[in-house]
């Protein structure tokens, strides 16, 4: 009896994951039984699932790491905080997407089920402390995303994007596995904690270890979309239905951050000199290529895809610092980025209607005359992306820049700000289109009240966190400080 309760007790930290899994299975069954007129059931149940998971996570917030399930799973402040943000992000995605999906005949159970499976994958990634569980979570996320991109079966662009995503994603997973197996060969362990201990005193198998690190970093760079492993990003962002782009562009970035920090920061911490230089190259290239290529785009989704690449470069600046301060800054950056990304892709969804995607830059012309409020929100989002105070994007940049300068990489900070100057140009161009130009499309903008409220909250959050960034900053610093 006592061994049984012992066995059950070790599942308690994973309760949110178990709950989500049960609920997804339930939604899958219910959705098969209802017809299109009652499809809102799946939508409501999905939101309830998120609320329930949030409740379960918030109920026992851990103040120190708890390792369980034979070292596969870790429940620490970092995972709790990130999970709460994941729920929030996915919930906002679902709200923004609803009308868009309905108008395009995509308002099906599949979308919700896949989104929740992807969420489950992300939760596992965030809470994994073992190469196996990390990989498991990553693949659950990736496979769900491949399917979501291809959700619009009769769209050849979407299918092509899904194919590209799948092939390159599988390649990346292969590299990651290869790297992991080399590191395993050196350390004799797949658990991050044991690995860190084994590497602490150095090893006589430097070459396999460095090779392993190289492959792992390359695999991570693929998943993050860092240059030169970024080729899939613009095509996928552009080709996928906007609702799916919104999903890919927000929540998985948070999970990817956790993934990178767990592997590099916790498992391979002692190898920081090896991976720092690689991340420097990835970060500089990402910021350069992302910002410069974005200027040439005429499609907003594609432009934001390149902007994502540059933002991931910025986020890497925080990680490559290899300090708690740096990881905290990167975490702040990625949460802020998710917020801005939700807002800007959400705006495309809000402006779109049946038969009209609103994803061209010119579709934003004269938005200030059509809807001053939405234009103002987009203005805040764009200035935040550009890193202009008093929006929160500025503090995100400030945080990673000071982390980089703390380790003495002044030149890197200078390069980063110069490249963000290049980036400012194309964000300003959106503002220019909205405010300086006259609209060529005067169709009234119809949005449902709930999406409008969420969008307002989203846009104003960028400003409010810009005026008072401390709470979010403190949460990030605490989560990192208590988990490392």
């Amino acid at each position: 009896m006592s061994t049984l309760s012992m066995n059950l007790a070790q599942f308690v930290p994973a309760l949110p994951e178990i709950f989500v899994l049960v609920m997804v299975s339930l939604i899958l069954i219910i959705d098969a039984a209802v017809d299109d007129s009652k499809r809102y059931l799946s939508y409501v149940l999905s939101l309830l699932t998120l609320a329930g998971a949030a409740f379960l996570t918030a109920r026992d917030l851990s103040s120190m790491p708890v390792l369980t399930l034979g070292g596969l799973f870790i429940d620490d402040p970092l995972s709790d905080v990130l999970k709460l943000f994941l729920y929030l992000t996915v919930a906002v995605v679902l709200v923004y997407s609803r009308d868009y999906l309905r108008e395009r005949g995509l308002y099906k159970g599949e979308f919700f089920v896949l989104a929740l499976f992807a969420l489950l994958g992300m939760m596992v990634m965030v809470s994994a402390s073992h190469f196996l569980s990390l990989y498991l979570g990553l693949e659950l996320l990736s496979l769900s995303l491949y399917a979501m991109v291809a959700l619009q079966r009769d769209s050849s662009v979407a299918t092509e994007a899904a194919m590209k995503y799948f092939v390159l994603g599988a390649l990346a997973s292969g590299m990651l596995l290869y790297g992991m197996s080399m590191v395993y060969g050196v350390t004799g362990s797949l658990a991050l904690g044991d690995m860190a201990i084994a590497l602490q005193d150095g090893t006589d198998m430097r070459i396999p270890l460095v090779f392993g690190v190289v492959f792992i970093v390359a695999g991570l760079a693929f998943k993050l979309g860092a240059v030169p492993f970024h080729m899939w990003v613009p095509d996928v962002y552009h080709g996928a239905p906007t609702a799916v782009t919104l999903f890919i562009g927000s929540a998985p970035k948070i999970a990817a951050f956790a993934f990178v920090v767990r592997i590099l920061g916790q498992g391979l911490e002692s190898q920081v000199v090896e991976w720092r230089d690689m991340l420097v190259i990835l970060a500089v290239l990402s910021m350069a290529v992302g910002n410069i290529a974005a200027i040439a785009q005429t499609n907003l989704k594609r432009m934001l895809a390149y902007s994502t690449i540059s933002h991931m470069g910025f986020m890497l600046l925080g990680i490559l610092a290899g300090s708690q301060n740096g990881y905290g800054s990167a975490m702040f950056y990625v949460l802020v980025y998710a917020l801005m990304s939700l807002g800007s892709f959400g705006m495309i969804l809000l402006l779109s209607r049946a038969g009209f995607e609103a994803d061209k830059l010119d579709d934003f012309k004269g938005l200030n005359q059509r809807s001053p409020w939405l234009a103002f929100l987009m203005l805040l989002l764009m200035f935040s992306m550009a890193g202009v105070p008093p929006t929160v994007g500025f503090y995100a940049k400030l945080a990673v820049l000071q982390a980089v300068m703390e380790i003495g990489y002044v030149w890197l900070a200078v390069a980063a700000v110069m490249l963000s100057l290049v980036g400012a140009f194309y964000y300003l161009r959106i503002v220019k289109l909205m405010y300086f130009d006259t609209p060529h499309d005067t169709t009234p903008i119809t949005t449902s009240p709930d999406t409008r409220i969420i969008m307002s909250a989203n846009g104003l959050a960028v400003l409010a966190l810009g005026i008072l960034p401390q709470p979010l900053m403190a949460v990030c610093m605490f989560a990192i400080g208590a988990s490392f």
Partner: protein, 494 residues
């Protein structure tokens, strides 16, 4: 009740008033928006009055200080305070904001609420720039003010407004980003503080000082603007609406010069002395060469824009003389230029509203149709040329005296401005106001209305008052300036 938070009021009253104006909504309520804006601007001026009445001219310490933790994670504080250098600038800004609101009363008919709100919010942000004692807080205001200005130029500007708005924004952003890196460097050098006064006492090696000197020089030099990074100013001025030009010339240029006094001199004294020759050269080029460029302009706004660059050259020249006379002369020149350039742009606005042209050749013989206006315009033109008894004379004279003590040739080149300034201003005045009427449209021009008389009259009083009795201004700044220079005279090398 608000005795402890005067500076917060000075910053937040205009910003909240701007939000209130935005809330009046579309152009159907334009009248309401105008009155709310005027009330907000006046209130902003009223809350700034205690800064003068309660100011202690005997101390160089910061006054009206407010300090609360803002972002403890990076040791960033909401830290405000003013001394004799920043207080007059806050007052100037609050005063000009009222004028700008009145100046846009009839002219702006499109998106009135947004126009007024942009100016009010910007006014609050600029007050924040002058009042910040925390580096990051300063940066937030310094950058934040670009957003409303970008919109003002881009939305209500002339035909080439998009180009001008982008050029202006990216130019200034380039400078400020390098300053941000310098600030983070200072944060680590000072043991984890963004406090500007702590930075004043941080020891720094020569290499670091040199690099940061040029970073800050770029940030503030672009704003001043100094030759050769001045090219955004004529574009922005020409394309901006009248109110935009007034604020650009009267206020935002001062932010750059203020940065020299608050950051470059006290934080980097050794580099400042080492590279003073560089700044002096650039200033003299601005004074002499840009004066000649102004002479060649056919567009009145462009002419005044170039004249602004030349006058601001005087300010930077005065600052780098490292003597109380020079720095105070520079400060007086800043305030005087605030009045004079605002007045001249308003004059051009008055003419533009009637004839819709800024070209000098389209005018001529204005005195026949607009005698009152011609008298006002005369006064401001004379002030711009540096005629004694106007405010324009005081600052220039002080700077030239200070320069003479350092090097005769500096003073000689600087003094050419008295010739060039008189030449381009008065020649423009002659072509526009005197002579016979050649353009039939000038026949239909009506003289200034009471609203315009109010605007120009208020500025005329300031220009004459400061010209005849500048002592109150120099009294306010004297102790702070002397203390600053004593601080700058000490080496900060480790």
């Amino acid at each position: 009740m608000f005795g402890q938070s005067i500076l917060s009021l000075v910053i937040w009253v205009p910003i909240l008033a701007g939000v209130a104006v935005l809330a009046t909504g579309s152009d159907r309520n334009a009248g309401l928006a105008r009155w709310v804006a005027l009330a907000g601007a006046l209130l902003g001026l009223i809350v700034a009055v205690p800064l003068v009445s309660g100011f202690d001219t005997a101390t160089s310490a910061m006054q009206f200080v407010e300090k609360t933790a803002w972002i403890p994670a990076f040791n960033i504080h909401y830290h405000l305070g003013v001394d004799g250098i920043s207080m007059p600038l806050i007052l100037l800004n609050s005063f000009i904001t009222v004028l700008v609101v009145i100046a846009g009363w009839k002219v702006i008919q499109d998106k009135v609420a947004q126009y007024m709100a942009a100016f009010l919010i910007m006014s609050g942000l600029i007050n924040g720039v002058f009042a910040s004692l925390d580096g990051i807080l300063f940066y937030v205001f310094f950058e934040g003010m670009l957003i409303p200005l970008y919109l003002i130029v881009g939305v209500w500007g002339g035909p080439n407004r998009v180009y001008a708005a982008f050029k202006f924004f990216l130019y200034t952003l380039l400078g400020s980003l390098l300053m941000l890196v310098s600030m983070i460097y200072l944060y680590f050098q000072s043991g984890g503080s963004f406090d500007i006064q702590t930075w004043h006492t941080t020891t720094l090696g020569m290499t670091a000082q040199t690099l940061m000197f040029f970073a800050f020089l770029l940030a503030f030099g672009v704003k001043v603007p100094m030759w050769p990074v001045h090219t955004w100013l004529p574009d922005a001025h020409v394309e901006a609406p009248t109110g935009g030009s007034v604020v650009l010339a009267a206020i935002t240029l001062k932010v750059g010069a203020y940065g020299f006094l608050r950051f470059i001199l006290p934080i980097l004294p050794d580099a400042s002395h080492e590279y003073a020759w560089f700044v002096i050269m650039l200033s003299l080029i601005a004074v002499a060469y840009i004066g000649l460029v102004a002479l060649a302009q056919s567009d009145m706004k462009k002419l005044i824009a170039y004249s602004s660059i030349a006058h601001m050259g005087f300010v930077t020249l005065g600052i780098f003389m490292f003597s109380p006379l020079g720095v105070e002369g520079g400060l007086v020149q800043m305030i005087s230029h605030g009045f004079v350039s605002a007045a001249l742009f308003l004059c051009i606005g008055v003419m533009y509203d009637r004839l819709h042209s800024r070209q000098i050749k389209d005018y001529g013989g204005l005195v026949n149709k607009m005698p009152v206006f011609a008298a006002f315009f005369m006064l401001f033109a004379m002030a711009n040329a540096g005629l004694p008894a106007t405010s324009g004379f005081v600052g220039e004279f002080m700077v030239i005296m200070a320069a003479t003590k350092v090097n005769f040739w500096f003073a000689f080149v600087a003094a050419t401005t008295l010739i060039f300034g008189a030449a381009y201003t008065l020649w423009m005045y002659k072509r526009v106001v005197f002579g016979s009427i050649t353009n039939p449209k000038v026949e239909d021009m009506s003289d200034v209305n009471p609203r315009e008389i109010l605007l120009l009259g208020a500025l005329a009083i300031c220009v004459l008052g400061m010209g005849l009795y500048p002592k109150p201004f120099t009294d306010v700044m004297h102790v702070s300036v002397v203390d600053l220079l004593a601080h700058v005279a000490q080496s900060k090398l480790p």
